[in-house]
């Protein structure tokens, strides 16, 4: 089970337990860190994964975007090369077939044919007829090559075997890079001869130039032995050896990434020619090719960093707000707990006080009566020895009893204040009922008691018993203040969501001096009359019930007591 519980232990659950324990500032700091870490992790991990995936996806897409055009360009240029060579060799082949040996051996005729060829097709440098022994029998061109013997040259052997030959670029006698196209023809009489044309490679350079590559890019033709067939910016001049090894053989245009001899990362697009010994190559440095990518990468990085900053900022702000809320609610909870504890303590003290007062009051009453009796007896016997001295002692005891009475009554008053139980009640009905207790006395003293209770008086939440005590006290006071035939008015009205009760009498009123002390404990002008509950207790109860009490009085005119009670429960601290 414990294992299962451990397995089920979730980081959030751990957090929740921390929340309970989080009371000290260090705890809050720890909690803050944990929440921020959790929020940052929860947002940054997906963000980072997305960023990384996006990065590579984008990079690959961009690379493809760059590689594809390069591949297509190489393919197209290779086709141009092939077409060029095919056209030229077909032309030579056509002439070899269309004319007889005698015609081609005719110097003028060959010159005319060559002129036509040069006019129609660019690139031809010269044209020569070579007999089966390898001797050039006729020649049209800028050099003096008539009678030259080619019998020991490789191309001669090859054209004898294959019937057709396209050479690599070479210098030969002419001392400039050129390519030869040679075709062997066999006449009907069995005689063979070879027609050989030279092409200058400027046309090759033009094809390369037509690729319109950027200055740092490079395109060139190389033969399968690795000799440069055209000039390259970076990898060698024509007929020099290419400065890096040939890539694997493939006739399909292919792109690979490599580090070139200059130490640059390059995309190398290349294709071997199926019909000739050439490989067309185009190299483009990655850095320039991926310039757009680097811009995009910069943007991506900026977005990522900005995202991280926003996430961090938001996480911190949210966490701070959360922690603040938690602190506040923790404080509120603690305050509420303290209040409950406080009121429980007060309530227990109240109960204890009531118990003690009750237990003490009965023996105190006996002491009071016994001492009172002693005093009565002594008062009746003027000749009792040491009468005065004993009377002084008795009075002293009676004063002590009076003090104790004060103490127990204070304790009872305190207990009463603690003993609040709220309920919804009809204040009008409560006032009517309480006034009813005194109806008999009012009637026989011909005191006019008027109840002016608003029928719209709202029901209030308060303590019935304590309110009865308050009103009984107030009515008793009013009754005591008015003479026979006086009048008392009790008015109750709703006011600003509260209820206001005004008890007004036309009695003797109070002096300003009395008014100052009216709410003080055990202040009385009635000298032992009444129920023993002073206005101070009334005041305490009203405050306890969340209300207000005020008094106005003019000597000889009357007194007005105003009580405001909240409609709902609004318990004030005692």
């Amino acid at each position: 089970m414990r294992k299962l519980a451990a397995l089920l232990k979730h980081p959030l659950r751990e957090l929740a337990s921390d929340v309970d324990e989080a009371v000290s500032p260090e705890r809050y700091t720890m909690l803050r860190r944990k929440i921020i870490a959790l929020m940052v992790a929860a947002t940054l991990i997906p963000l980072s994964v997305m960023a990384v995936l996006n990065y590579y996806e984008h990079q690959n897409a961009m690379a493809r975007e760059i590689q594809n055009p390069l591949r297509v360009l190489v393919n197209k240029t290779k086709s141009s090369f092939e077409l060029f060579l095919a056209e030229r060799s077909s032309t030579v082949s056509l002439i070899a077939s269309a004319y007889t040996y005698a015609e081609l051996a005719d110097e003028k005729k060959l010159a005319r044919i060559f002129n036509v060829m040069r006019r129609e097709f660019e690139g031809f440098v010269d044209l020569g007829l070579i007999d089966e022994h390898g001797t050039q029998v006729n020649y049209v061109g800028p050099y003096t090559l008539q009678g030259k013997d080619y019998s020991d040259q490789r191309w001669f052997q090859e054209v004898r075997v294959k019937g057709k030959y396209v050479s690599d670029v070479f210098m030969g006698f002419r001392k400039f890079p050129h390519v030869i196209v040679a075709v062997q023809h066999m006449s009907e009489d069995g005689r063979t001869w070879i027609l050989r044309a030279t092409l200058d490679t400027r046309q090759f350079e033009r094809f390369i130039a037509s690729m319109s590559l950027e200055p740092d890019a490079d395109a060139f033709l190389v033969n399968t032995q690795g000799l440069m067939q055209t000039n390259s910016n970076n990898y060698g001049k024509v007929l020099e050896r290419m400065s890096f090894p040939l890539p694997p053989l493939t006739f399909e245009p292919t792109v690979l990434t490599m580090t070139d001899p200059l130490g640059r990362e390059v995309f190398l697009a290349y294709a071997y020619f199926p019909g000739a010994d050439f490989v067309l190559m185009a190299a483009k440095p990655r850095s320039s090719a991926l310039k757009t990518w680097y811009t995009v990468r910069g943007d991506l990085l900026f977005i990522f960093v900005a995202g991280v900053a926003v996430v961090l900022f938001a996480a911190m702000r949210v966490t701070d707000a959360l922690i603040q809320r938690m602190k506040e609610s923790e404080d509120r909870r603690e305050l509420a707990l303290r209040e409950v504890e406080h009121s429980q303590k007060l309530s227990s003290i109240g109960r204890l006080a009531a118990g003690v007062a009750h237990e003490v009051n009965n023996p105190l009453a006996i002491i009071n009566e016994k001492t009172g009796l002693m005093k009565d007896i002594l008062t009746m016997q003027p000749d009792f020895p040491a009468r005065e001295k004993i009377l002084a002692q008795v009075d002293s005891v009676l004063r002590a009893v009076e003090r104790c009475r004060g103490i127990t009554h204070r304790m009872l008053g305190f207990a009463r204040r603690m003993d609040v139980s709220f309920e919804e009640l009809d204040l009008g009905e409560l006032i009517r009922e309480t006034a009813g207790f005194l109806a008999n006395e009012a009637m026989h003293r011909k005191v006019d008691v008027q109840l002016d209770l608003d029928p719209e008086l709202p029901r209030i939440v308060s303590d019935r018993s304590q309110l009865q005590q308050v009103f009984l006290n107030l009515f008793n006071n009013a009754l005591a203040a008015v003479g026979d035939g006086g009048s008392i008015t009790v008015a109750a009205r709703p006011e600003n969501g509260d209820v206001r009760v005004v008890v007004k009498d036309n009695g003797c009123g109070m002096s300003d001096e009395t008014l100052k002390h009216i709410f003080e404990p055990f202040f009385t002008t009635k000298k032992g009359k009444g129920t023993g509950l002073g206005l101070s207790i009334t005041y305490g109860i009203i405050k306890r019930l969340g209300g207000e009490i005020s008094v106005e009085s003019t000597q000889g005119v009357g007194t007005t007591l105003t009580i405001t009670l909240p409609k709902g429960q609004r318990e004030a601290l005692a």
């Binding site: 009453a365 009554h409 207990a415």
Partner: protein, 132 residues
């Protein structure tokens, strides 16, 4: 009415207290009969019909408020002064609802007690004359 003619009934289970109170009243010329429980109180009311009954709220057996209620039913003219020795004034208020004339808390001030007795007897007399 002269205090000598007053008929007072004192009801409390605290013997020492109530007998001493009776003695003190007697010294002031007031005749007071003393009983120590509710049942005796009911019997005494039935026999003597006192003017005023001073009744302790908290007694063993029949409780003070029940005695009050029964007395008010059988002899409504008997005025009752309740004595409470403990904290809650609920009993006092409840007593007044049941028809008690007033309530007092222990320890008593004998002069206040006599004043209240006088008020009660005075009130009973006026009420009776009004009733007639």
């Amino acid at each position: 009415m002269n205090t000598k003619d007053w008929k007072i009934l004192l009801v409390d289970d605290e013997h020492e207290f109530i007998t001493t109170l009776a003695e003190r009243l007697e010294l002031r010329g007031i005749n007071a009969r003393v009983v120590f429980d509710g049942e005796s109180a009911l019997l005494a009311v039935a026999q003597d019909e006192p003017h005023v009954m001073v009744l302790d709220v908290l007694m063993p057996g029949i409780k003070g408020l029940e005695v009050l209620e029964r007395v008010k039913r059988s002899n409504p003219q008997v005025q009752v002064l309740l004595l409470t020795g403990h904290g809650s004034t609920r009993d006092g208020i409840e007593g007044m609802r049941l028809g008690a004339f007033d309530y007092m808390m222990k320890p008593l001030n004998i002069d206040t007690l006599i004043e209240k007795m006088e008020s009660a007897i005075d009130y009973a007399g006026k009420a009776a004359s009004l009733g007639q």
